[in-house]
Symmetry: C2
Subunit: 465 residues, 2 copies
């Protein structure tokens, strides 16, 4: 593997050679690096440098250049193709497996993308066009339609011969077996193929209990399947069980990463960016954050309304206002903890929708325990400050009780809302991750105020209030 | 694949047969399911049912039973072994690849684990014991030490013959090539092995540019390597480049999931649970949440101190208190957004430590844009309420300005702290994910109050204050 230090040397050399116009030296370096390493190097170059290096590499070794571009990710990869003619782009895309090409086409500027698709279509390489017919995030869009399938009557020896003709650089571990009407009937691992006699028929050596996914399956389902059955590729079938493509484990890893990125961004309270942070244009970034921020802000305005109801109490006992941020934020914090724990447990399938009752029982007790703990800490703090600084006047003990009791209630309520909100989201068909930390905090802020001032009204009645 | 409906039928039948003591029927079902499906079924059974079903299966087909147990996860799997004799457990563990056995041993009760390890050691199956010598979360702990390696002089035909003797059910795609002192010198894919003449020497057909990981490498590094080079297994070497094991892509997927689970739990403001939510004992769950909650609470107490400084201002202008939650929570929300975006971008390597300055510039402008937006919304809200309800007295316009200007400052500050805190964490060698939403919110609450009341002091001087 290329170490970090080595990489820095490579980048520095490439920069120097680019400046000097030393094309031969430059190409010598570029040709030695693995596609993934090239992509990493490209990431560290400026836009101009990257484009020059890529153009030089294209002229020398088109297939290698496109592999590196593909590793760079669809977004940045596509930007390297902009400015070329549609004819040129379609030729370059033909170097890649159709599923990778589709990813790139999606990020090309609209007009260029259309012309390119048109050209690909006319050239009988309509695979890319076909993949695009399927909805985003489905197996049909993600699969590689070039699948190595043979009939049941093929012998192991014939299969090896066909394998030799097939070529291709994709991850490749299974031979799929189909009947005369293209139905998927079995699978043979390369390993098994190695171990049987050349005369053995696939029918007799195949596993007929094949794990497959439907062409319309959601990508999340594909990921779950590959993960739980520990396979490195899964065949994709249409409604009639006809083999139409495969999805390999490297794509599944990308799916898993994308899904968790989305979850984390939502938990943080923004919309999913759908592209790397650094590649997201400034105003898109602002827009994806602004929407939720404004919604939360409108919700949070209810705190001003709630506080307005207690304006007289605050005027009479300003000391109450001092603890407002402390009390409500504790509810938000405990709610944020509970929400993220449950969102992740739901995403991993550790907790199912019907477990809500068990979770609720557990979280009520967690909330009481945590709230009790914070209540004690707050009590000690207020009492200490009273004896040390005389901060809270004659009613210090009642204030200490107000804050402590309110904390138990608010933290319990925060924990409960935080843990139940993801279930509610899921039940409504929304993404549980949308019950973000800020969302829970906002919810708890408003209700927390009401809890706090209600406790105050009871405890302080007749003295401060 | 077993559909959901099918699974429910299976579970119902198993329950019924268990109650009836219909062992033969029960075993017929258990033997037909795939290990991963069995594990899923086990998850839906009660503890007692699960144990009975597992015990029956062990008696019939020990290897199958252990595969299912392994799929169940280390935690729950280990609990199914408790109560058996150490002799028994060590025999059962021998059915699994050493890396899976290690996972289980770690979760056995201390005394049982020790006796089991002792037994395994005495029986010359010391692989498990050796794996446990390596630190947790390193390649050495995770690898499967049973690796298929051959010398450079081996011919392709001999390799196939040895493969036939080897057996084993593990994911298996590469033959590693070693020199006479066990140094890793090359790799041959099964596919290549299929396509070359039986007389070809491995030396001549191998790829000598092997991607490998050191035995002490962190699991995160292993995952990055497998992901970026699109391989399905990676060899593990010691300091002298001697081949000592392999890590397969299914383990890498588990690593990726565990790492993101940890990140999400930390972002939510608790410690990483290190085990599934449902399997975490109640008091462990409370402890893992309490620690951060108390730390944040102590931090948040500074809000009470800060508010204390402004007590006189609040007493003179109670209306100021009404907007405290609104203003500070907006800072917390925007900070939480920024933090989670940056934490994820850092985890994916989209953003590196040295990019902090670019991110900071970008986030300052994002913060200004978002703060400006919320400022406008707040202004409209206060002015409207004034005209509709006369809520805010004579100084309504000044109050509107105070809140709006404070919002710009607080949101900008929230965005900035949220985006920079993960960098600071990383720089200090801590996990960027520790800059959780609640942490950022707490930080911003305290400073937000100061910003708000300072703006108020300037805008309202001579009128309300």
């Amino acid at each position: 593997m290329a170490g970090r230090k080595n990489q820095e040397v490579v980048i520095t050399s490439i920069r120097r050679f680019l400046r000097m116009g030393a094309t031969t030296n430059l190409l010598n370096i570029l040709e030695k690096e693995r596609p993934a390493d090239l992509a990493e190097v490209f990431r560290h170059l400026s836009d101009r440098e990257r484009r020059s290096a890529f153009d030089l590499l294209v002229a020398r070794d088109r297939s290698r250049a496109m592999e590196a571009l593909s590793e760079l990710g669809a977004e940045s990869g596509a930007s390297l193709l902009e400015g070329r003619s549609a004819e040129d782009v379609s030729k370059l895309l033909a170097e890649l497996p159709p599923d990778d090409a589709v990813g790139l086409v999606q990020y090309l500027p609209g007009e260029l993308a259309e012309t390119v698709l048109d050209l690909l279509h006319r050239k009988d390489s309509s695979e890319v066009v076909e993949l695009l017919q399927h909805a985003e995030n489905t197996a049909g869009r993600l699969m590689n339609p070039r699948v190595f399938a043979l009939s049941e009557e093929t012998t192991s020896g014939e299969a090896v011969a066909k394998l030799q003709q097939a070529g291709g650089k994709e991850l490749f571990f299974y031979v799929y077996v189909i009947d005369d009407r293209n139905h998927l009937v079995g699978v043979v691992s390369l390993r098994r193929l190695l171990l049987v006699a050349p005369s053995a028929k696939l029918r007799d050596i195949m596993t007929s209990d094949v794990i497959s996914v439907g062409i319309d399956s959601d990508q999340e389902e594909v990921a779950k399947l590959v993960t739980s059955y520990n396979v490195v590729a899964v065949p994709v079938v249409d409604a009639e069980n006809r083999l139409v493509g495969t999805i390999t484990v490297d794509d599944v890893i990308d799916i898993i990463k994308d899904e968790t990125t989305e979850d984390i961004q939502k938990i943080g309270g923004s919309e999913a960016l759908d592209e790397p942070y650094v590649d997201t244009p400034f105003w898109t970034l602002v827009k994806k954050r602004a929407r939720w921020l404004v919604v939360l802000f409108l919700g949070e305005m209810l705190t001003a309304t709630a506080m307005g109801y207690f304006e007289k109490e605050i005027a009479r006992a300003v000391v109450l206002a001092l603890f407002v941020p402390l009390v409500i934020s504790s509810g938000g914090n405990s709610g944020s903890q509970a929400a993220s724990l449950i969102i992740r447990a739901l995403a991993l399938g550790e907790v199912k929708l019907h477990d809500w009752w068990n979770v609720m029982r557990r979280e009520i007790f967690s909330g009481l325990a945590l709230g009790g703990l914070l209540g004690v800490v707050a009590f000690i703090r207020i009492v200490s400050w009273h004896f040390m600084f005389g901060s809270y006047g004659d009613n210090w003990l009642k204030i200490a009780f107000t804050v402590s009791i309110a904390l138990v209630g608010v933290v319990m309520w925060g924990t409960l809302s935080g843990s139940m909100l993801p279930f509610v989201m899921k039940r409504l068909g929304a993404d549980p991750a949308a019950s973000s930390a800020p969302f829970v905090a906002t919810l708890v802020d408003v209700t927390g105020l009401i809890i706090y001032f209600s406790v105050a009204a009871i405890v302080l009645r007749g003295t401060l209030l």
